[in-house]
Amino acid sequence: MVSTVTTSLADVASSDATLRAFLHGLPGVDRVGADQRAAMLGTRSIKTTAKAQAIDLAISMVDLTTLEGADTTGKVRAMCAKAMHTAEGAPRVAAVCVYPDLVAVAVSALKGSGVKVASVATAFPSGRSSLEVKVSDTALAVAAGADEIDMVIDRGAFLSGDYQKVFEEIVAVKAACGEAHLKVILETGELATYDNVRRASWLAMIAGADFIKTSTGKVSPAATLPVTLIMLEAVRDFRDVTGRQVGVKPAGGIRTTKDAIKNLVLVNETVGDDWLSPDWFRLGASSLLNDLLMQRQKLATGRYAGPDYFTLD
C-alpha cells in the first residue's frame, strides 16, 4: 500500500531485496478494470469552447518528434520552424525531440523561441549497450544543449527482476543530465502487464525521473489510454507519498485530435489541474500536430479542413 510506506524512498533502493519488496508491495492493477475506466473516459464528449481550449492545450504539450535513421539537418530545421510557428494564433509546441547528434541543429534553430530541445539517449530505442555508452550518449546530448533527455530503461533487466540494475542506470543517467530534465521511457509495450507498468513507474520516480514516458514509438502497442492512466495514478500516488511531482508523457500512436483530447480528459479526471500544463504533461508525436491544427481551423471557420492547407514539416 502506498500510504503505508514508512521508510523513506531512498531506503527503498538501498538493496535489491528492499527494492523488490517495495515494488511488489504496490497495489496490483486489474487489467479489465483499468481498460474499462480508460474506455469510459474515452467516451467524454469535448465540444465547442472546451474543444478549442483542449486543442490549444494539446498543441502546447506536443513534443514534436523525429527519430529516423534518415533524419537530416534540413529535416530537423524544418521541424523546428513548424514547432515555433504552428499556425496563426496557435501556441508553439513544448519541445522538439531528436537524436543526440542533431541536438545542436535544433538548439540553434529554436534559439529564443522558448521551445525546448529534447534528445533521446542511452542507446535508444533498445537500450542495449553498456552503462558507460549510455552515460556518454547522455552527456553528448546535454553538452550539445539539450534541455531534456528521454532515456530508455533496460527492459531486459526489468523483466528478469534485476530492478537494482535499472535503478542504478537511471541514477547514473540522471547525474549525467545535470540541469537537463530526465524523461524515463518505460517502453510499456514490452512490459507485458499493467502491474509491471506501475512498478516501472515507481522505480523510475524513486530513481529521480522528472518525467515518466510510455514508449519509444518503435514498439507496438505504444501509448494506450490504460497505460497512461496507470502512469498518471503512479505520479499522483508518488506525490502523495513524497511531495514531489513527476510529469507524464505518452508517446507513440497518438495521431488524432480525438486521441489527444482523450489523453487530456484522462489527466483532468485522474490527477487534475496540477498536471494540465506542458511542464507536467507532454504528448510525444509527429503527425498529431497537423490534425490538431486542422481541427482548430474547423472550429474557427466552421468548415472541415483539408491537408493541403497544412505544412508537412
Binding site: S3, P27, G33, Q36, A50, N268
Partner: protein, 471 residues
C-alpha cells in the same frame, strides 16, 4: 481549468406524442383516465398516459389468452424470428430509445446509450435463439400461458426485456405493466412490436399505478406472475398468488456488501465502488450500498474514494458527460433524504463532494456515510439512491458474517488479488450474484436473482427459461 462545455444529446431523435393509450391486442386503445409522466430532471410534463382499469387489464389478459393459442403452437423457429426482428429494430432505434429512457427516467444518456439499450437488444437476441432450442435446456418445452409482468422504474426498458424476451421465447404471451413514472419506452416498444408484425395480443402493455399492477397480478386467467420491484410489494404479490396455481418469480430489493480487502487492486476497487453505488443514481437493486473495507486500508481507500467522487459530474441526463442524473421521482427523493437524515441522526458521518444541484427537478448528491455500524438504518435498509454506507472489518470471516447479516441476498462484491480468497468468499456469501474484482456487470447469458428476501427465480441465461416453462 479544463471545463467540459455542455454536450447535450439531441432530443430531436425522439417524437413524444402528447398522449398515449394502452397497447392491447396489437393496437393502442384509450383508457378511461390518464396520468402525466414527467422528466425528473426538470419536472417538465412529457406526455399523458392512459391508466388501465381492471376492465382494461381484463381485456388485455383476454387478448393475451387468445394470442396464446397462436403463439404457443407456432414453431419455435418462427417465434425466434419475431424476437430476432424485435432485437434488430431495437438496435436500429437505439438512440431514440436511449434518449427517451433518459428523458423519462433521469438516467445519464451515457448509461442508457452504452448500457441499458445495448443490453436490451442483446437480451432479445439471446432469448430469440432459445425459442427453437428449448428441448435442449432441460425444462421441457411447455409454456405456462399468459404471463402478468410488473416492472420497476429504474431500468424501464431493460426490465421489460428481461421479462418479455424469455416469456415470448418459451411460447407465453404477456401483459406487462411498466412503472408509473417511466412508461414511455415500454410504449415505444409496443410500436416496435407493431413494426415487427408481432401477432396481436402476444404483447400487451397496460400503463398505470399500483392498482393496475395489482389487477394484473390478481387476474384469475394469468398463469404466471413475474415482478421486479421492492420487497414490500413482493410480499404482497406472494400473498396474492398464494393458494392459486400461478407460478411466481420475484426480483426484489438488496443491500449488497462490496468487500474490499487490503490487497485489492485499489484503483479498480475505487472504480468498482463508484460503479457499484453511483451507477444509475444508486437506483439499482443489486447496488453495492454497503462498503465493507478492511480496517488496514480504510484511510487510504476512503481518501481515494473521496477524491474520485469529486470528479463525478452531476447534471443534465442528456449531457453526454453526465455521470449522475436525476432521482426518478419526488417520492424517491423524499425517501433518500429521509434515510440519509436518519443516518446522520443515528451518528454516522455524512460527506458529499462539492456539487451544485440544478434548481428544478429531483436531485441528490453522491453521498458517503462513514462510521456506520450494522445496527444503523442506513446499513440495513435499502435506500435506492446514491448513498454509500461504509463499514469496516478485520478478518475474512468477519467480512462474510457482516455481508450475510441482512434479510436480503441479491448481490455482493469482493476485491482482493488473492484467487483462493475470492473463491472462499464466493462460497460463503449468500447472494445470487457475486462480482469478484468487478461490480454491476450484466449479460443476457448470466443468471440474475436473489437469495432470501431478495426474491426467487432467475432472469437471464439458461436458468431464466425455467421461470416461463411448465417444468
Amino acid at each position: 481549468m479544463f471545463e467540459y462545455a455542455p454536450a447535450p444529446e439531441s432530443r430531436d431523435v425522439v417524437d413524444i406524442k402528447p398522449s398515449y393509450g394502452l397497447f392491447i391486442n396489437g393496437e393502442f386503445v384509450p383508457g378511461s383516465s390518464s396520468f402525466k409522466t414527467v422528466n425528473p430532471a426538470n419536472e417538465e410534463v412529457l406526455a399523458e398516459v392512459a391508466v388501465a382499469s381492471s376492465d382494461d387489464v381484463d381485456r388485455a389478459v383476454q387478448a393475451a389468452r387468445k394470442a396464446f393459442g397462436v403463439w404457443s403452437s407456432m414453431p419455435g423457429a418462427e417465434r425466434a424470428k419475431y424476437l430476432f426482428r424485435i432485437a434488430r429494430i431495437i438496435q436500429e432505434r437505439a438512440r431514440e430509445l436511449a434518449v427517451l429512457e433518459s428523458l423519462d427516467n433521469g438516467k445519464p444518456i451515457r448509461e442508457s446509450r452504452d448500457v441499458d439499450v445495448p443490453l436490451v437488444a442483446a437480451h432479445f437476441f439471446y432469448y430469440a435463439g432459445w425459442a427453437d432450442k428449448l428441448a435442449y435446456a432441460g425444462f421441457g418445452d411447455r409454456p405456462l400461458g399468459v404471463a402478468g409482468q410488473v416492472i420497476p422504474w429504474n431500468f424501464p426498458l431493460l426490465m421489460l426485456a428481461w421479462k418479455i424476451a424469455p416469456a415470448l421465447a418459451c411460447g407465453n404471451t404477456v401483459v406487462l405493466k411498466p412503472a408509473e413514472t417511466t412508461p414511455l419506452t415500454a410504449l415505444l416498444f409496443a410500436e416496435i412490436c407493431q413494426q415487427a408484425d408481432l401477432p396481436p395480443g402476444v404483447v400487451n402493455i397496460v400503463t398505470g399505478a399500483g392498482e393496475t399492477g395489482a389487477a394484473v397480478v390478481a387476474h384469475p386467467d394469468v398463469n404466471k406472475v413475474a415482478f421486479t420491484g421492492s420487497t414490500e410489494v413482493g410480499r404482497i404479490i406472494a400473498r396474492t398468488v398464494a393458494g392459486t396455481s400461478k407460478k411466481l418469480t420475484l426480483e426484489l430489493g438488496g443491500k449488497a456488501a462490496n468487500i474490499v480487502f487490503e490487497d485489492a487492486a485499489i484503483d479498480q476497487a475505487v472504480e468498482g465502488i463508484v460503479n457499484g453505488i453511483f451507477f444509475n443514481q444508486g437506483h439499482v437493486c443489486c447496488a453495492g450500498s454497503r462498503l465493507l473495507v478492511q480496517e488496514s486500508v480504510q484511510d487510504q481507500l476512503l481518501d481515494s474514494l473521496r477524491r474520485r467522487l469529486s470528479t463525478l459530474r452531476l447534471g443534465d441526463p442528456l449531457d453526454k458527460n453526465t455521470d449522475i442524473g436525476a432521482i426518478n421521482s419526488a417520492d424517491q427523493l423524499a425517501r433518500i433524504r429521509q434515510l440519509s437524515d436518519l443516518g446522520e441522526q443515528e451518528g454516522a458521518s455524512r460527506w458529499s463532494p462539492a456539487c451544485e444541484l440544478p434548481e428544478k427537478g429531483f436531485w441528490f448528491p453522491p453521498t458517503i456515510f462513514t462510521g456506520v455500524a450494522q445496527s444503523h438504518s442506513i446499513a440495513r435498509e435499502e435506500i435506492f439512491g446514491p448513498v454509500l454506507s461504509v463499514l469496516t472489518f478485520r478478518t475474512p470471516a468477519e467480512a462474510v458474517e457482516k455481508a450475510n447479516n441482512t434479510p436480503y441476498g441479491l448481490s455482493a462484491g469482493v476485491w482482493t488479488e488473492k484467487g483462493s480468497r475470492i473463491l472462499w468468499m464466493a462460497d460463503r456469501l449468500r447472494a445470487g450474484v457475486v462480482w469478484a474484482n468487478t461490480f454491476n456487470r450484466f449479460d443476457p447469458t448470466s443468471p440474475f436473482g436473489g437469495y432470501k428476501e431478495s426474491g426467487y427465480g432467475r432472469e437471464g441465461g439458461l436458468a431464466g427459461l425455467e421461470a416461463y416453462l411448465d417444468v
